[in-house]
Point group: C2
């Protein structure tokens, strides 16, 4: 039977020199921030049957657990530095742990984000990651910075993760190949770190967040924090490749109120349109203009012809 | 029914200005570290039926969840700055949340440690706190810094938390009043933050850690990291007031291999004995000298007369 300390040593402690002054194995990790930089910190907890299925593939779960945290750094425009991992496991299963840690470190290494510490305990499967990044003071892309007249932009595409869930739930029948493609989006989201960094560099964008609970609900946080409203072009929203082949009503519903997208929604002055497209290009991330921020409160929808649409949608609430 | 956002607003978001540049409510919290300081970071996860009982008092649980994390900062000699809280709850129960947040903030405020962000979700009760502190570079009390000839010191007293557990488990019969007193130590540990700061100030101490899994197991981490051995005087170990009234064998066993003590075990050069006592005095924390670090590997026990004792004890392993 694998002990707690063997488990950490075998699957999570790595010998390569890291950024931290002191990594795994003491009471605390020690990290020296870059002088003059601001720290960005976020914590996400993933729970079985809520954020992932009971028999979720451990490699993909390792990826996703870190991805949703890196997505928060991306939404702030912060550069990843490191993270802690607290893990409650029903049992110390070496096969599961090998897969999980490989998925975790593959993404961590891709973003030069070091595992600096954490905790392991026995309990119902629960994965809690706290991630640290840094950025230049005043450059953070905050939710309260949107201004009337700003364009609203979306990175990548929306709705395929929600479509995959609909497939799992048998809400609709999808060909196996389509479902597999959509499921990849659900299980292996790509955090938009490079785009976030590019948007925060000047900064080019004003407000930003990552879409985890559906665009409508999440955009609502920007509107509330910035005390503005918005108009979205429901037909301009970039649907994922599988969702794009579905009928219009479903396309609108899942792009507007899907969930698990982990794309960025951000606002930028109209004068920065070329700069935003440039940030998309240098970061290799598609960006699409989908609406505008209004002085008038509330969220309105229009179709491709600019005609008002009546849509009732809301975000995901973990306790509703 | 309380929504996720109402829950955070009602119980965890506070209006008073804080240390963080940006607190709860955005994708990340923003914090500007004191220039020239090193960050100390630790994460602990508490799980029902493992770290606390199913019907644990929420006020005491709020206290303990943060206390075990502050204890890690104390063991490093770091000054608390802030923390994130990730919480999985079976239901959004306002009575439980009110008690939990009051216990949490009472301790947080006592240590000027700000809640800067986190996550809430539905799931089996799980509390994951990640805490941030800072210290002068080179002053951290690391596990790998013990040297042969160092004194070994313990803060406060040991074993009463383990005695309380023995009472709950009916391993032994305790008078109600004794059990209540011991249980207080188990449920409301006092993190030795002030002592840790005083010991790291010069620094006075060399190696340190906090005792969470029993002295023998935890001291073993210092010995392994520092590549040294130690001799402990089993009868010099300061027993908690309730345990002190029990017979010698139990006293030795629960001080040496109890658990949930959250006292500091630290080493310091013999030349610093007066300074250590002074650090204890200014921090209002009793400190007791209990042994010495040896060049020879292994952990040996002696009695009050210096005669060798044969004791087989080990630390707590969450997966054994």
């Amino acid at each position: 039977m694998l002990s707690e300390f063997d488990l950490i040593k075998q699957f999570f402690k790595r010998e390569r020199p890291g950024r931290a002054d002191l990594g795994i194995g003491d009471d605390c990790a020690l990290l020296t921030p870059t002088p003059g930089r601001q720290l960005a910190i976020s914590s996400d907890m993933l729970v079985e049957d809520r954020h992932f299925f009971k028999d979720a593939d451990p490699f993909m779960l390792g990826h996703k657990s870190l991805a949703v945290n890196l997505s928060d750094l991306a939404a702030m425009g912060a550069r990843p530095l490191g993270f802690t991992l607290a893990l409650a496991l029903p049992a110390a299963d070496p096969v599961w742990l090998a897969g999980f840690s490989r998925g975790l470190f593959a993404l961590a290494d891709a973003h030069d984000c070091e595992l600096i510490g954490g905790d392991t305990t026995k309990g119902p499967l629960n994965i809690c990651i706290t991630v640290f990044g840094e950025l230049a003071p005043g450059h953070a892309l905050r939710r309260d910075a949107a201004q009337a007249g700003d364009d609203i932009w979306i990175s990548g595409t929306l709705g395929d993760a929600r479509l995959a869930l609909a497939g799992y739930w048998k809400e609709l029948a999808l060909p196996d190949e389509d479902h597999a493609q959509a499921a990849q989006r659900m299980h292996m989201p790509a955090p938009r770190v490079a785009l976030g960094l590019a948007l925060a560099a000047q900064p080019i964008a004003r407000a930003a967040l990552d879409i985890s609970d559906g665009l409508v609900g999440d955009l609502g946080h920007i509107l509330a924090a910035s005390r503005v409203g918005a108009t979205l072009d429901a037909d301009a929203l970039p649907a994922g490749p599988v969702l794009a082949r579905q009928e219009q009503a479903l396309r609108r519903r899942f792009t507007l109120a899907g969930g698990d997208d982990y794309e960025l929604c951000f606002t930028a002055p109209v004068s920065n349109r070329t700069a935003v497209l440039g940030a998309g290009r240098i970061s290799g991330t598609p960006v699409t203009r989908v609406g505008r921020i209004d002085a008038e409160a509330g969220l309105r929808f229009v179709d491709a012809q600019g005609a008002p649409l009546d849509m009732k949608l809301s975000g995901w609430d973990h306790f509703s």
